[in-house]
Structure formats: structure tokens, C-alpha cells
Symmetry: C2
Subunit: 245 residues, 2 copies
Amino acid sequence: MLITSLENDKIKKCLKLRDKKYRDLYNEFLVEGEHLVIEAYRSGLLEEILILEDEVTILDAPITYVSNDIIKALSTLETPSHIFGLCKKKEENNDLGKRILMLDRVQDPGNIGTIIRSSKAFGIDTLVLGEGCCDLYNEKVIRSTQGNGFHMNIVTGNLMEIIKDLKDKEIPILGTNVEYGEDIRNLTSRDKECFCLVMGNEGRGVSKEILDICDKFIYIEMDSHVESLNVGVATSILLYELNRK
Amino acid sequence: MLITSLENDKIKKCLKLRDKKYRDLYNEFLVEGEHLVIEAYRSGLLEEILILEDEVTILDAPITYVSNDIIKALSTLETPSHIFGLCKKKEENNDLGKRILMLDRVQDPGNIGTIIRSSKAFGIDTLVLGEGCCDLYNEKVIRSTQGNGFHMNIVTGNLMEIIKDLKDKEIPILGTNVEYGEDIRNLTSRDKECFCLVMGNEGRGVSKEILDICDKFIYIEMDSHVESLNVGVATSILLYELNRK
């Protein structure tokens, strides 16, 4: 099938998927470019390929051919890709494992993307995104993760409720605090086996109600006159240390 | 003095400073917002304040009052600040010290900014930006550093020439390589006292001619199936380890 009209229902839906509201409604999202389409395919999330007429793909998925005008309309890049993937959202696994990272109102898509890549790199079982975090299926987040997020368990929800469940399972909640925290280098192997690390908003940090119920605080040793590290960097260094044998 | 016309020479110059070409020509740059103006003042880089008429500042610098229309024209933010600082570029100190970070064609302003913050946090003496790196005085870099870059030595130049000088001074050049590099955790105190770490472009890494003359390669241990960390994160973890006593 070749689609040439922007009024086509499928194309209209694909364009709507730029908004979180419609991604939530349809439980779908759109990815652009061969690398991301392949990653979505490998993760079993790819439902359909939209590809420029006359182009080919070796992926085993339903294919819709589209005109150059449609490609341009769908693209969010300066140089549009010739292939898009219509994908279903990944199912959330409620078994969070024992090495959990939780983000409280982290809003920058680049930071979320960086943190997903580092979570994969340093053996995190589940990433929990609280209300107020940037949407996982935001196009910039997906681009910045290069598809890594498709391969790990990421759940969304109310952080206070999830923390309550974790406490019932005796998983320690870790916050960060430079003044009365413990140097991350002094954590024991036992500390590193089982934890839920909470990291917070770029400007405001972790919300008070969560800090109040943390079981332990840690910090990264550094020159004292620097205000703070980028949240993606701070999280990554903590995960790197928590993965240190 | 109150300026209300966009045709005013000073305002025209300030607007031009958005382009690297003019920043290089005038050896000046513009910062927006109270925090950055104060940081520029503290670093001795602030030449003049431009402020919305009727607003006040306690900083001891020449002041020019401007109309709201001028503020809107100068601003690059959704919500314009009421204060701008016209600054001279920081002088480059050719004594690079013994703990040097060198960036080869790192192009994303956010990554440069993140790396500057981490360099300050982990005791780097000098950051060297090679040709092809994003400009230090790019507005996004300055915003992302929150003014930290004003307080550290940052030099620009031809990396091959600078490396030749460093080799004459017997400073080891460190590259990264997962296949035949050494785990960063195994470096000695001596390794950490004196080095020039080279990090490369987001997609292409460090250029071959530089890799060919590196004295040692290091890597970060992580789950093997992840393609790579964000360059800002990778650099920050290496600097964190190189700062470990």
C-alpha cells in the first residue's frame, strides 16, 4: 500500500503520536531511522514499518509505503530518515528486581536518555520514572538512548507507593546528601546487592517527602566549591560505584 | 544611559555576539541572567551590565539601562532575564598543569558543559578544546556550565601540536579502548598525578592520528552489550576515578 495523503488516518495517527497524550491513549509510539526501527524490532515492539516508496527493508514486519511529502511531515530531523517504525509501548514488569534506580521529576529528555544508557551499562534491574518525569517515549529520549531503553525494564508510577512496597520487601532506599551522607566508596558488597537509589529534579533535587523516608544517604567526593554535577553524570557515577565488585 | 533602539551600536554588537565569528572578532561574549552575570563579575570578566530600566544591581560595573523591547531582542530564553553581562573572554594560560583533559571534536554544547562541570569537580588543571569542538562561549555551553567554566583554565588550539609539547614534558597521553585498554580501577597513584586524557567526538571517537600517539589506553568496566556511554558520562567517570586517592 502506498500512502500519499496527509489526511490518511494512519498518517494522522502517527503525527498525533508526537504528543504524550496520544501515546498514552493508543499505547503506541513512533521511531525514526533504521537503527531505532531495528532496535524496536529486536525488542518485539515493532508493529509496522512506514518506508519511503522504492526503498526496501529486510525486517519481517507489515510494511506501508509512503510518499516523500509524508516522510517530511513525519520527520523531526533536519535530514529526514526514509524509515519509521510504529511501535507498541513496552510492557512494564512489576517485579522490579533488587537493583533499582528511581527518578523523581527529572525533566530533561537528554538526562533521562543518558541515565537509561548508564543504567543498562551498570546492571540496574529496573528504572522507575515518577510522575513529573519526562515521558519515556518522548522522541528526544528515544533518540538519546539509541534504543537501549527498549531492552530494559522501565516502569512508571507513584514513587511513594512504590517505595512503600519496596520497604515491605526490605529493599533499602538510598538518597544523596553531601552533608550527612556516606562516601559512595565506602559502601559494602551487601549494600550494592540490593538498593533503590532515588535521584531528583535538575534544580530542586528529590522531593522532601521522599527524602524523609530514605534509609541511607550517600555522596560523591569532589571539590567542594562546585555547586553540583549534572544529574545524568551524578547518577552514572553512583551506578558505576554501585556496580563495582 | 537608557537605550531604546535596536539600531543602537552597542545593542547591535551584543546581538552579533551570538555568532562565534563575532565573539572571536571582538574577543567578547554576552551572558544572560543574574547568576551568570555574578559569576562573570567574580571571575573579572564582566565589562558592562545591561539591565531593564527601573531594575537595580549591586554589582560594581558600568551600567546601561535598556527598554523591554531590547531585553526581548537580546534574550534567548522563553522567559527573558532582566539582566545581561557584556564580558571579555577569559585569557588562556599556557601552563597547562599536570592533570589535563583534552577534547577532540566534541560537538554537543550540553556535553561540553557537563564536562566542564565535572572537570572542576574532579581537579582537572586545564581543559583543552581542539579545533572542531563546540565553542566555549556558545550560549548553551555557558548556560549548561552555570558559569563554572569562568573559573578554570580552558585553552583552545591544535591538539597534535599541544600533545607534542606535552610529550616533551613527559606527560603521558591517555586514550580509551575497551579491547586492549587497562581497567581504570587499576591505575596507580602515579598514573593519576600526571596525565592528559583525550576524549573524542560523540559518534566517531578520537581521531586516528591522535590514537596512534597515545601512551596508554584505559576503559570503564561495564555490561558488554551496551554500545557506549554518553561522552559526558564516560569522561566524568574517568575523571572521578583519576581523582580517586
